[in-house]
Symmetry: C2
Subunit: 209 residues, 2 copies
């Protein structure tokens, strides 16, 4: 199958707006994160080799490397989310004539929902990591691009919130209580950290505007 | 010049991450809005012709039309923001040998900053309008896609916040006090409305998860 991220932006938006449920909010969450990391990477690149930033070159180079790794991962998650959704739909279409078929179908659906929950957990986790990167860039990076760091953080925050909603909707269909419990704990933790970190970054940005 | 929205997503992300300040946060703000409208359009499309939604067909059709108009406008703003930024950079490179040249350059820079502020005001205005659409869709649209409506609203909110930061950074360089005053009033109003509407939509979504 051709990849979503190989589509041009206009065509992707058309596909998103169409009457097919995938790609949907989960892929947009990952794309929001990818846009966020790209902006942090940009500000790193605009700091490297610049006058008045000699002291932070090693830290910024290191931060850029982390940011680019995250960007590659989040770009992959755009497609992974849509694939996971389609796999759940496929499981629903499995035959359910015999008892054995019914059992296999049920297992495939439950397994599908777990993967469809795990992908946005991954997206939320990676989006939270962007905020650690944006924090360094807000403090040490090129001051001329401070609003780009803020937009990086805002896209990461929107990515976390969007991904978490996609986890929650899938949790509603998962019968493994232990999985639901540990996942709920995890997403609440990510949400709390995200809000704190985003506020900190926005305060740094607002004070230098 | 070829348009940013004709690039594939991967290449756009590479270009965004590169050591060139444009495209930057302003174009990402508009893209965030375009992604938001696309998701609201999708949920409209997933409601049209569906059983149990007979009573809302006219309203949803009308909402889809508005959403798609917004999507086209926001897609254009992705490129307009980058062009406006590049025009400011061009103005700075104008000759400044004679008094007349200095005067013309100063005028071009001031004019450039005003346009570079007006484009994200437009982005913020259009992103706020997405929330009116998402509100209708959250109340009347296909309940199976309720998280997609929430992501639509979150992307619109991130678009507003990001656009407003891009307005503010340009206002800092504009000497026309009346322009600065009326624009500041306008962006504060958009920000307030956006937060209220987003919270309302998220409450509707959370109560049906």
């Amino acid at each position: 199958m051709s990849k979503l991220v190989d589509m041009n932006i206009n065509d992707f938006l058309e596909e998103l707006a169409s009457n097919s449920p995938a790609p949907g909010g989960g892929s947009v969450a990952a794309l929001s994160g990818a846009l966020g990391t790209a902006l942090s990477s940009m500000v790193c690149n605009l700091t490297i080799g610049k006058e008045n930033y000699e002291d932070v070159q090693d830290e910024i180079n290191d931060t850029l490397e982390k940011s680019e790794k995250l960007r590659i991962k989040l770009t992959k998650l755009v497609d992974e989310d849509t694939n996971a959704f389609n796999d759940v739909m496929k499981a629903f279409k499995m035959p359910k004539e015999t008892e054995q078929q019914k059992e296999e179908r049920k297992k495939a659906i439950q397994n599908g929902y777990k993967i469809a929950a795990k992908v946005p957990i991954d997206t939320a986790t990676k989006c939270e990591e962007i905020l650690d990167i944006a924090m360094v860039v807000a403090k040490k990076g090129n001051k001329n691009s401070i609003t780009d760091v803020a937009v990086s953080a805002l896209m990461a925050q929107a990515g976390v919130k969007s991904a978490i909603l996609n986890v929650k909707i899938n949790l509603g269909s998962i019968k493994d209580e232990e999985f639901v419990k540990t996942t709920t704990f995890r997403i609440n933790e990510i949400q709390k950290n995200t809000d704190q970190k985003t506020n900190q970054i926005m305060n740094i940005v607002e004070s230098s505007l």
